[in-house]
């Protein structure tokens, strides 16, 4: 399953589970499914929730991506440090699974 960064980002606002997707536009026309999961089609379903700005959502998406990238980087550098200590690949895999 590919990670859905937009939805993961949205859940960091309003305590999570605060949004859904509009299925019809203001004129009653059906929004194609392929176009619904975009910022402009968010609907609030939780009392008291407020709409984050698109910039805030995009910043959160970038933050999640950066964190993921950093995690991959940390894994790679950590593995290299283990190698530098003299461990071979089999030993490293036995220890950390990769």
């Amino acid at each position: 399953m590919h990670r859905d960064y937009l939805q993961d980002a949205l859940h960091t606002f309003n305590g999570g589970n605060w949004y859904g997707w509009k299925t019809h536009d203001d004129n009653g026309n059906k929004i194609p499914n392929s176009e619904r999961m975009q910022y402009q089609h968010i609907k609030i379903i939780k009392d008291g929730a407020t709409m984050p700005t698109e910039a805030e959502v995009n910043a959160k998406i970038q933050e999640l991506k950066d964190a993921e990238t950093q995690k991959e980087t940390d894994a790679s550098t950590g593995k290299q440090k283990l190698k530098d200590l003299g461990l071979n690949d089999a030993e490293i895999k036995a220890l950390i699974g990769v």
Binding site: R3, H11, G20, P32, N33, M37
Partner: protein, 271 residues
């Protein structure tokens, strides 16, 4: 019996007979239209009458005219010689598929126990839901409504996660749960469960399926099924439950453009 020519289409026939309630009249109405009086054999008081305008009776269309009036004490009947009524009964096992007109067999003609699928529909969780404990799915549920989504018949209705059935019957309910890691939380088990009620109040777990999310970026997909005998659409309901090890948040995958976490309802037949 040998014969020359085409095989008659109407192999088995019987003659129609009409018994009259007699009165003091010369005019009667026949059940079937005839070309002339020779197409019927008229019997009065057990005596065969001679047809013809110079004799006992004439007939044309459905009009029978006697040369002399009957009385109420007479008995009279006519045998339609020219109107053999078709009572063809095909021999057992002789009706082939080609003999049946396309699209004419109604479900009501099928034997009891022979069922057709009259309802099929899919629903789904339309956006990701984050759970931290066991919970029923109650929001962001929608019918599969992509442009090519198919369904049969009148479908389910849903309110706050409670699904109601359109009619009584035996239903196959399939629930699929798609879960993925939230942050770095691991779960020894995650799963989707089917709960049903038969009194619109007390729900019982009837199907479960579980997986695990034990490492980074792991996901779990589970499917459970239940065949539910819906005998009362007011009281027989179903809802779907996420069960998880309460170690922290869990992402229940959902989308409005495809099935991730979703439910399929198929009415298999009558209850």
């Amino acid at each position: 019996m040998p014969f020359i020519g085409n095989q008659p289409a109407l192999s088995y026939t019987s003659f129609a007979v009409q018994h009259f309630t007699t009165s003091a009249t010369t005019s009667y109405t026949l059940d079937y239209s005839v070309a002339n009086e020779n197409e019927i054999r008229l019997v009065i008081n057990n005596v065969v009458q001679q047809p013809g305008s110079s004799y006992a009776y004439t007939a044309s269309g459905t009009t029978l005219t006697l040369s002399a009036a009957t009385s109420a004490t007479d008995t009279m009947y006519a045998v339609f010689l020219g109107k053999a009524v078709q009572t063809v009964t095909p021999a057992s096992g002789s009706v082939t598929n080609a003999m049946i007109v396309d699209g004419t067999i109604a479900e009501s003609k099928l034997a009891s126990g022979v069922n057709t699928i009259t309802m099929a529909e899919q629903w789904r969780l339309s956006s990701v839901t984050v759970t931290s404990t066991n919970t029923f799915l109650t929001t962001n549920l929608e019918k599969a409504d992509t442009s090519d989504a198919g369904s049969i018949g009148t479908g389910m209705s849903e309110s706050s996660g409670v699904f109601s059935f359109p009619s009584t019957g035996i239903y196959l309910i399939t629930g699929t749960g798609a879960f993925y890691q939230n942050g770095s939380v691991t779960h020894q088990f995650v799963g989707l469960e089917i709960y049903v009620t038969t009194d619109n109040s007390s729900y019982n777990r009837r199907a479960s399926s579980y997986g695990a999310i034990l490492g980074t970026a792991e996901e779990a997909n589970t499917t459970c099924m239940y065949i539910f005998d819906v005998t009362d659409i007011s009281n027989d309901k179903v809802k779907f439950h996420v069960r998880q090890q309460t170690a922290g948040n869990l992402n229940v995958a959902g989308a409005t453009n495809r099935q991730l976490t979703g439910f399929t309802f198929v009415r298999l037949g009558d209850t």
